[in-house]
Amino acid sequence: GSSGPSSSASSGKPSGTVIVLAAASLKGAFDKIGKDFELAHPGTTVKFSYGGSSSLATSIKQGVSADVFASANTANMDTVSGDKMTEGTPKIFVRNKLEIVTEAGNPHHIKSVSDLAEPSIKVAVCAPAVPCGAYSSQVFKKAGVTVKPVSEETSVTGVVTKVSLGEADAGVVYVTDVKAGGSKVGGVPIPAKDNVVADYPIARLTDAPNKAGASSFVSYVLSAKGQQVLASYGFMPAASH
């Protein structure tokens, strides 16, 4: 047994434990939303299992029993819903966009995406195979620059870590990551014409042991209160696009 007491009906008052598989980049916001949700629905407990979206998708396809899946990209969600393992169509609950991350104080005076093409600038990006990498490629393409990165990180935090420790001079990450990086890093916005928008989908899982809890949690995330918390972590509300 893994998910604790659960209510059998698919409707009614949520109770018991809700297990949420969520992309690690959502941790700050989701921890807060979880607490709020528990307050709003006494008797419920929300447990988060954070990880890379693709690992989480793999786990789900291997039959891990959980209630909700919140992915950082649509591709991973699609592989899950493609296997009919989500209840209905996943909903986009939040969006994100890219930004250039630099060392605190921007010592290399990077002003635009085209500066990243400078051979003297060490750039870390996400690998094209992971979502933020795919988005970065699109940005470079739109801006018409060829960037030779020193590293293709497998996660956004990899890029942030490299930049914040001064290993790389700049990188391309989500706005939320720059915000979370605080004073150790600086951000250089990418103009809307070059930027891309990342969709974060959420869905209740077909095999969810706690269907009622799962549904309420998804609704709560999509509710104004949930969206407000997400916004405070730098995400763009789903509705605002």
Partner: protein, 262 residues
């Protein structure tokens, strides 16, 4: 007896010092970067204490499992004579080569709810390993136990088996021989194997998160908590918790070593 010669010469000393420094500098780096002011809250936060507790439980269970199950395998590899021994040894060491995340996937394929063994297990007994502490232990055992097996096998191979004959001839049963002769004689390997397995299990991340998930209080061990902190851009917390992990393991190692060896 051996005091007759200076035990270590200068070249050896220099190389050893370089190696030691190579290990020590990064740790020093971590210590410098530790947010000492917030360490208190890092250590006492429920997430951290839960994670440390789980880490200790899981890694110690793994070590215990390695003793119960890895020891017989090491014995078989060291002393058994059967065709395909080299292949078996190779197979049992592969979890070390497999990137841990792939290891986790392999575990899901075998012991997951839809897995080769997991599915019948689930049907028959309702046992489901993922998202449970036993799942964490299985993941850690898969990754860490080979270290025990290989180290112990080497110890068993280099011991003087004539002493076991002597013990048998004095009326000691197999079990007594094992307990009173074999064990003390292979003690260095056993201790080394135990330390390696325990450490590897304590630091295990990839297989655990993939196979057992990352549920605080249930399957979130310290490395997972550290990962989550780090991947949600909370590096100082990650470093703080790492340091706690390091201190715990250092303490355990020094205490057990001081009590067990001369």
């Amino acid at each position: 007896m051996r005091s007759s010669r200076q035990p270590v010469n200068l070249v050896v000393l220099c190389l050893a010092a370089i190696t030691a420094l190579f290990f020590i500098f990064p740790l020093t780096g971590l210590i410098f970067r530790t947010p000492w002011s917030s360490m208190g809250s890092v250590i006492t936060s429920k997430t951290s204490t839960d994670a440390l507790r789980l880490s200790l439980i899981a890694s110690l269970s793994t070590t215990a499992l390695a003793l119960c199950f890895g020891f017989p395998l090491a014995w078989l590899l060291a002393r058994g004579r059967f065709p395909g021994k080299t292949l078996l040894r190779g197979l049992c060491t592969l979890p070390m080569v497999l990137p841990p995340v792939v290891g986790g996937i392999a575990l899901l394929l075998a012991y997951g709810r839809r897995g080769l063994i997991g599915e019948p297990l689930n049907h028959a007994f309702g046992i489901s390993l993922p998202f449970s502490l036993p799942g964490v232990i299985v993941a850690e055992a898969f990754v860490a136990m080979p270290f025990f097996v290989i180290t112990l096998e080497s110890g068993l191979r280099s011991m003087n088996t004539k002493l076991e004959d002597a013990a048998r001839s004095l009326g000691a049963s197999r079990w007594t021989v094992f307990r009173r002769v074999t064990l003390p004689l292979i003690w260095p390997s056993l201790a080394a194997g135990g330390v390696l397995t325990w450490s590897r299990a304590l630091g295990e991340f990839g297989a655990t998160i993939t196979f057992a998930g990352n549920l605080p209080g249930v399957t979130q061990t310290a490395p997972l908590a550290i990962y989550v902190s780090q991947s949600s851009n909370m590096l100082p917390e990650a470093i703080g918790l790492s340091l706690v992990l390091v201190l715990v393991s250092l303490t355990v190692m020094i205490v057990t070593r001081d009590r067990s060896s001369t």
